[in-house]
C-alpha cells in the first residue's frame, strides 16, 4: 500500500509563520485568511489522496493505448479527471469571469502542484499545461480568442499543450521548420511536425488546444522569426472562415488536420502521453505579435519550469514517506552501541547511522525546497501587484529563482528518490513497493522544459547579469539584512555564520563567472551546473536559517524542535558540498575542454 499524507502542517508553518502570507495576499486584493488557505489545502489533499493516488500505480502498469492515431486513456483516469473538474480543482487560480475561483496563484502553483505530482504525476501534467495555455492566451491573445477558449480551458473541459520541439530542433528552436501561412480571413494554416508533445493527443477532454511555434513566410532566421499560433484539435462546427466571434462550442466531427503519429514508450509516467503531432494545413490563429513566439512561449515555459521543480519536490516527498514507513517496520542488525530492542531478534533499521543519514537527507532537502517553493509562490502573486516597485522586485526574484527551482529541486529529487530506494534495500527495487515508480517518474523532471544543463546556463549566462544585475541585488538585500539581524544572536550562530560564508562565496563566484565568462564562454559553461547547485544550496541555507529562527520561538514543541534539528543537519551534512562545488567552479574549464575529443 502506498503511503501519503500531504505536508499540510509544513504548509501551515511556511505560509502562516515563516512568510506570514496573509497580509501580503490581502494587500494584493484577495479576500483571504489562514482558515481559507487550510480549507483549500485540506480539500485538495483529501481529493488527491482519495481520487488520484489510488490510480497512480494503475496508470504506471496499464498506461495508455495508442491505436489508429488516437490515444485512449485508462477509464479510471478519465473518471478522476472529471471529478477534478466537478470539484473545481483545476480552476482555483483562473479568473471568475471564466468560471474560475480567482484564488491566489501560490496555492495552485505550490500546494496544488506538490500534492498533485506526489499523488499522480502522470495525471498532474494535464491541468498544469492547460493552465499555462490559459495564462498565455489571456495575457497575449486577441479578445476573440480569449472569449472563445478561456472558459473551457479555465475549468479543464478543454486541455492545452505547448508544441515547440521538432525532430531536428530541440534546444535549438531557431531552426524549426513548421510553417504558418496567412489567409485572407485573418487565420493561418499551420503545417509541421512536433515531437515530445505531452498530452498532445488523448480522450480526457472534448478538445485539445495546441500552442504551436511556427514561422511565417519571409520571417527572420533563427528564434527571432518564430511566432506562436493557437491550433485546436477540433474547430467549432459552425466555423466556415475568419475568426471565432460568436461561434458555438459544439465541435466538428472531423479534426482540424491535427493528428497523432505515435506516442513514445518511456521509462516512467506511462499514463502521460508523449506524442508526435502532425499539423497538416491546420487552421490556427496567431497569439501575440508576429515574431514574438519565443518570448510568449518562454512565459509559459517559465511557468512550467517552476511547476517541474515542484513536481520534483512532490515525488521526492512521497518517495521519502514510503521509504520511511518501510524503515519503521524493518528490523535488521543491531545498534552498533548495543541492542536497542534486546527482546527482538534485531533492532529497527533506524538505529543505523547510514539509514538515518539517507532519510534525513531526503527529509531535510524536501523541507528546504518546500520553503523556497513557498517563497517563490508568494512572489508569483506579488508580480501582479499594483505597485510597480513590488512587481519589479518580485519579477526579478522569480526570474532568478526559476532555473534554480527547476534544476536544483529536480536534481535533488532524483537523488532523493534513489536514496529512498536504497533505504529499502531489495524491496525498493521491487514493483510491489511504489518507490521504484517514483524514481522512474521523477527522472524526466531533469530533462523536460529545458534540461538542467540549460537551466544552469540560463542562470549563469543570463539571469545573474539580467536587468543590470538587479535580479541578484534584489536577493542580496533581504539576505544581507537577515544575516545582520542575526549576527549577535548566540543561538543563531551555527546557522548564520555558514550562511554568511556561503553568501560571500556566492558573490565571489558570481564575479568570477561574469569576469572569466566574458573572456571565455567555456569557463562559464563548464562551471554553470556547479554554480547552479551552489546557488541552490545557498538559497536553501537561507530558508533553513529562517525556519530555524521561527522555530526557536516555540522551542519545546516537537514540530519546532524537529525544524531546528533539521536545520542543523542541513548545515552540517548537506551545505558543506558548497566547498567542493566552489573548488570545481574555480578550477575552470581546461580539464573539461582540453580533453582530446577523439578519445571519448
Amino acid at each position: 500500500m502506498v503511503e501519503y499524507e500531504a505536508p499540510l502542517r509544513d504548509y501551515d508553518f511556511l505560509f502562516n509563520e515563516v512568510f506570514d502570507v496573509t497580509p501580503t495576499i490581502k494587500r494584493l486584493g484577495y479576500d483571504f485568511d489562514e482558515d481559507f488557505l487550510s480549507m483549500l489545502a485540506e480539500g485538495w489533499a483529501d481529493h488527491a489522496k482519495e481520487v488520484w493516488l489510488p490510480i497512480n500505480q494503475l496508470g504506471d502498469r496499464v498506461g495508455l493505448k495508442f491505436e489508429n492515431g488516437e490515444i485512449t486513456m485508462p477509464q479510471e483516469f478519465k473518471d478522476a479527471y472529471k471529478q477534478g473538474i466537478e470539484g473545481g480543482w483545476f480552476s482555483t487560480s483562473t479568473k471568475p469571469e471564466h468560471g474560475g475561483m480567482g484564488a491566489p496563484i501560490f496555492f495552485q502553483s505550490v500546494i496544488w502542484g506538490e500534492i498533485a505530482t506526489a499523488t499522480n504525476m502522470a495525471m498532474s501534467v494535464l491541468p498544469a499545461l492547460t493552465l499555462g495555455v490559459y495564462d498565455v492566451l489571456n495575457e497575449h491573445g486577441d479578445q476573440v480568442l480569449v472569449d472563445y477558449f478561456s472558459s473551457n480551458l479555465a475549468q479543464g473541459h478543454w486541455a492545452g499543450t505547448m508544441c515547440l520541439t521538432e525532430p531536428h530542433a530541440g534546444t535549438d528552436l531557431g531552426i524549426i521548420s513548421s510553417k504558418a501561412i496567412p489567409q485572407d480571413d485573418g487565420s493561418y494554416r499551420v503545417t509541421g511536425t512536433k515531437i515530445f508533445i505531452t498530452y498532445g493527443e488523448h480522450d480526457m477532454t472534448e478538445n485539445i488546444v495546441h500552442l504551436v511555434l511556427a514561422k511565417t513566410p519571409g520571417s527572420p532566421e533563427g528564434t527571432k522569426g518564430i511566432t506562436m499560433f493557437l491550433v485546436p484539435k477540433y474547430l467549432p462546427k459552425d466555423w466556415k472562415s475568419g475568426d471565432l466571434d460568436g461561434l458555438s462550442h459544439d465541435l466538428m466531427q472531423e479534426h482540424n488536420g491535427v493528428t497523432c503519429a505515435g506516442s513514445e514508450e518511456k521509462m516512467g509516467i506511462h499514463a502521460s502521453p508523449t506524442c508526435v503531432m502532425n499539423f497538416d494545413n491546420s487552421v490556427g490563429w496567431r497569439v501575440g505579435d508576429l515574431h514574438t513566439g519565443m518570448k510568449l512561449m518562454f512565459q509559459m515555459m517559465n511557468q512550467e519550469r517552476l511547476a517541474t521543480g515542484i513536481m520534483g519536490l512532490g515525488l521526492a516527498e512521497i518517495a521519502y514517506q514510503n521509504s520511511l514507513a518501510w524503515a519503521k517496520d524493518r528490523r535488521q542488525g543491531r545498534d552498533l552501541r548495543g541492542p536497542k530492542d534486546p527482546k527482538e531478534p534485531a533492532d529497527n533499521i533506524l538505529v543505523h547511522p547510514d539509514v538515518r543519514r539517507m532519510l534525513l537527507e531526503a527529509k531535510v532537502n524536501n523541507e528546504g525546497c518546500r520553503a523556497l517553493a513557498a517563497w517563490t509562490g508568494i512572489l508569483l502573486d506579488q508580480m501582479h501587484s499594483d505597485d510597480p516597485d513590488e512587481v519589479e522586485y518580485a519579477s526579478s526574484l522569480v526570474a532568478l529563482f526559476t532555473p534554480i527551482v527547476k534544476a536544483h529541486f529536480t536534481d535533488v529529487a532524483c537523488e532523493t528518490a534513489s536514496t529512498c530506494m536504497q533505504v529499502m534495500g531489495g524491496a525498493g527495487y521491487c514493483t510491489e513497493y511504489a518507490v521504484e515508480q517514483f524514481y522512474r517518474d521523477v527522472r524526466i523532471s531533469k530533462i523536460w522544459e529545458g534540461t538542467n544543463g540549460v537551466q544552469a546556463l540560463d542562470l549563469a549566462g543570463r539571469k545573474i547579469t539580467q536587468n543590470m544585475g538587479k535580479n541578484l541585488r534584489h536577493l542580496m538585500w533581504p539576505l544581507t539584512e537577515f544575516i545582520e539581524e542575526n549576527r549577535d544572536i548566540p543561538e543563531m550562530l551555527e546557522f548564520n555564520k555558514p550562511l554568511h560564508q556561503g553568501v560571500r562565496g556566492l558573490q565571489q563566484l558570481t564575479l568570477l563567472m561574469i569576469a572569466e565568462g566574458q573572456a571565455n564562454p567555456h569557463f562559464l559553461a563548464a562551471g554553470a551546473t556547479d554554480y547552479c547547485r551552489y546557488f541552490g544550496n545557498v538559497l536553501l541555507a537561507y530558508m533553513w536559517a529562517k525556519m530555524a529562527k521561527k522555530a526557536m520561538e516555540k522551542k519545546g514543541d516537537p514540530f519546532y524542535d524537529a525544524k531546528i534539528a533539521s536545520a542543523r543537519f542541513f548545515f552540517k551534512r548537506i551545505y558543506p558540498e558548497t566547498v567542493s562545488l566552489a573548488a570545481k567552479i574555480q578550477s575552470g574549464h581546461k580539464s573539461v575542454m582540453e580533453y582530446p575529443t577523439e578519445m571519448f
Binding site: 481559507f36 480539500g43 466537478e86 473545481g88 514543541d557
Partner: protein, 252 residues
Amino acid sequence: MSIAVLLKQVPDTTAKIAVSGGRVDQGSVSKWSTSPYDEYALEYALQLKESGAGDLVAITCGPARSSKMLTDAAAVGVDSMLHVEVDTSEMDSKQIQSILAAAVKHCDADVILCGKQAADTNSGSTGPGVASLIDAACVGMVSEVSVDGDGFSALRGTPTGNERVVVSRPCLFAFDKAATELRRPNVKGIMMAKKKVIETVSPGDLGVDIGESGIKINAHDSPPEKPPGQKFEGAESVSTVVTKLREEANVI
C-alpha cells in the same frame, strides 16, 4: 422549522495525544477534526436538506478553534452555523446537553442529527440528553435516514440485525457508522463557506445557566501500550497460531 446537526471537534484520530499533569495536553494536539460519527450525521443532514426537509444549521459548543469545523461543514452545504463559544473541557454531559438544547431551540430546529458518541470522550450521552431536554423522539444507532411523508424513516442497528423505524417531528437521530460515502468539499463550496458568517454566542446569550459540573475529572491517563505484534513463518507454525488464536485471542 429547520434541521440541526450537532458537531463536536475532537483530536484527529491520527493525532498523537499527550497527557501532561493529569490532563490531555490540548496544546500538543497537531490536528483537530470533526468527530467521525458526527460526519455521518452531517452527511444525512445534508441529504435531508436536499430532500426539502428544511434549512440546515450546524451547531457546536467548544473553544474558538471549533469554528473551523463549522466552516468546513458550510463548505459541503450547511446553510448557517451557530457556535456556542465556551471551554467545555471540565464540563459534564448534562451541562453540555443544556447548552446544545438551548442552541437547538435558538435555531428553531425540530429535526436534530448527531453522532452516537464523540471520538474523544466516548460517553454517548449527548444525543439522548438533548432529545430529552427538547422533548423529542430519540433514535440511536442510526445508519440511514430519509424523509417519509411528514416524518422520517430511519434504519438502526440492533444486536440481532437492523430495525427500520418511522418518527415524526420533533426527533433526534444519533448516528452510527453508515455505508454512505461522505462528501468532500469542492472549491466552490469552500469559496461560499468563506462568505458565510458564523453566529457566535455564549451560553448566557442563550439564557442557559449551566451551573456546576456534577462530575470532577481526577486524571487522564494514556492507555497501556499495546503489546507488539507477533510474526509466524512457515507451515510448521500453524498449530501454534491456532492455539494462540483460540487461547489468547479467543477468536476461534
